[in-house]
């Protein structure tokens, strides 16, 4: 990059690209498929599969172009800053996405459920649910007719505790990899990333096992009332983000192995690292508010 003498003047404007349109088509067929699928229309699953396939094609294509451009030094420092700022604002919006669900949890626990249980300022509501007493986790629902009964709520020990340790460790290995990058030590970078990926995969596996356990033994399902709903909404979206983050880490790992990054030019690495730390922090929130308190 530093070889480009006109770096400060020439902001790279890409030639017309088919990828945005491809991306739109992919998203469109995916969500259209979901909508049809949920309503039992036969074409739905196919549409989603088509959309998914297009999106995978898109990722290879678009990122491929960006990697090419990056490797042929088309990006000056201005472009690099745009990428960083773009990533920053993207993570900001993701933060608000998670804040939404934490806020919902707060709302249920401190505002609406107490009313149903006969406290707070809509306490009269309790006459509709005689016998309902509020306590968290809500094991006995106001009316269980349409829901399934929880046998046992989820505790903070065991898998969630291991997962906390795993994710915190992965943050450390990732930072260690970053140091490697700064020292231009390819092996430290690759080993660090590989460990991070492994920890990510391990986390996902444990969480999958936890879900399995919850469904089969604890009676804790999407269908078991508000505790199950919030539990799966928060941990599920988090797990989804971990999965995305792991995929991104794998891409970065491959690129590191190919020696794509240098001390000055490694926005992709940093973007993924920020994302991973963000996912990490969300987990800490989850651990405290979903499993523990």
């Amino acid at each position: 990059m530093s070889t480009n003498t006109t770096a400060e003047q020439d902001y790279f404007i890409p030639e017309p690209s088919r990828w945005p349109a491809v991306g739109v088509a992919g998203l469109f067929f995916t969500v259209l498929g979901f909508a049809l699928w949920m309503n039992g229309v036969g074409f739905g699953p196919y549409s989603t599969m088509i959309g998914g396939a297009i999106l995978i094609y898109l990722l290879f294509g678009w990122f491929g172009d960006v990697i090419d451009e990056s490797l042929t030094n088309k990006y000056n420092s201005g472009v690099d800053r745009s990428f960083r700022q773009g990533m920053f604002w993207f993570i900001t919006s993701e933060v608000f996405f998670f804040i939404t669900f934490f806020a919902c949890l707060y709302y249920f626990r401190n505002i609406s459920l107490p009313s149903l249980g006969g406290e707070g300022h809509l306490a009269t509501s309790n006459i509709l649910w005689e016998g309902f007493k509020y306590s968290w986790p809500v094991v006995n629902l106001p009316d269980v007719t349409n829901y399934t009964q929880i046998i046992e709520p989820m505790g903070p020990g065991g898998i969630p505790a291991y997962n906390t340790i795993i994710l915190l460790t992965s943050g450390v290995t990732l930072t260690w990899a970053h140091w490697g990058l700064k020292k231009e030590s390819q092996s430290q970078l690759v080993i660090g990333l590989a460990m991070t990926v492994a920890l990510g995969l391990f986390f996902i596996a444990l969480q999958a096992y936890e879900y399995f356990h919850a469904y089969t033994e604890l009676g804790l399902t999407l269908n078991s009332g508000i505790y199950g709903s919030t539990f799966y909404m928060l941990t599920g979206f988090h797990g989804f983000h971990v999965t995305l983050g792991t995929v991104m880490l794998i891409v970065i790992l491959i690129r590191s192995a190919k020696g794509h990054f240098s001390e000055e030019n490694h926005f992709a690495f940093e973007g993924v690292a920020w994302y991973w730390h963000f996912v990490d922090v969300v987990w800490l929130g989850l651990y405290v508010f979903v499993y523990w308190l």
Partner: protein, 374 residues
Amino acid sequence: MSKSKMILAVLASLLLTTLAGTAYADYALNFPEPVAPLTQQMYDLHMLTTKIATIIMVIVIGIVAFVLIKFRKSKGYEADQNFHKSTFGTWSWTLVPIIVLGIDLTIAGSATDALQQVEDYSQKADVTVKVIGSQWKWTYEYMDDDIRIVSNMLPKEEAGDNYLRAVDNPLVLPTGKRIRFLHTASDVLHAWWVPQIVYKKDSIPGYINETWTNIQKEGTYRGQCAEICGTGHAFMPIVVEAVSPEKYEAWKAEKLMVAEAAAAEASSDKTWTKDELYARGEGLYNTNCSGCHQVNGTGMPGVFPGLVGSKIATGDIDAHINIVLNGKAGTAMAAWAAQLNDLELAAVITYERNAWGNNTGDAVQPADLKSARK
């Protein structure tokens, strides 16, 4: 009357650019006359803010008009390029917000008393009515007496000019008593609103909201459901009949007697003939069920199933009883167990099984319902 209102409306519209909200004094263009202390307070508050709004608009329009007349290029006016550097230019950014803040606090301050009143639930109520919104009718339960009223919209032929504002069974309330309303709903959100006597609070399924009033004047007060609740949202009017406490007591006594008789009838072990049930069922069907399933039982394809020749209405009796008693979760079909008594349910079901060519010949007995309720 109606011509003049039209002309007024047109005039008022055209007047906007010169004077906002001129015609507010006439009740035809304003809230209907409030007849309870709280709605009176709200009305006064509304008049106050309207006046403030009008004054602000007069000021804004006045300044702009002056500017437009005075500072136009066609009159050769040269722009003053240093105006924003004058003392006013330097300080206006504090001046304007301070003035606006002052007006704001005046408005907010004038609202606090009424707000306290709205939220004051400490006083004991003389009458408590639970108001239940359902798609698309209102049910009133007098909490202190065992009275329930189901209130449906009157069809056009009967309601005349009050169509969409008239019901078969109005809510009857005494004047001069503190009345407490508990609002809830059985299916989706609704809002019970009779502007002259009570403001709105949403009816939320599973939760209870409160409002209260104290009606000062006998009369018939009308309102409408004020929260969108689906297909029939336009068709769930509200009528309150406010009567003197004496008349109210008399009405209550009579109502209780009738209810008692009906209950006795329903729980007696009498076996009813098909025709008796059918005849009772027809009326009940037309007030309770025809909103969705239609008077001729054809339903609305894709939305509400037709009952003509339907599997349930011509098949297994127990399945039929079950869906009417318990409804079907997740659909508009509500549970009727709490809304109709055994006799009424038996009658409706019998009617459905024999009307519109559903000639099953079955006569469902109250006793069947009684056992199904367990």
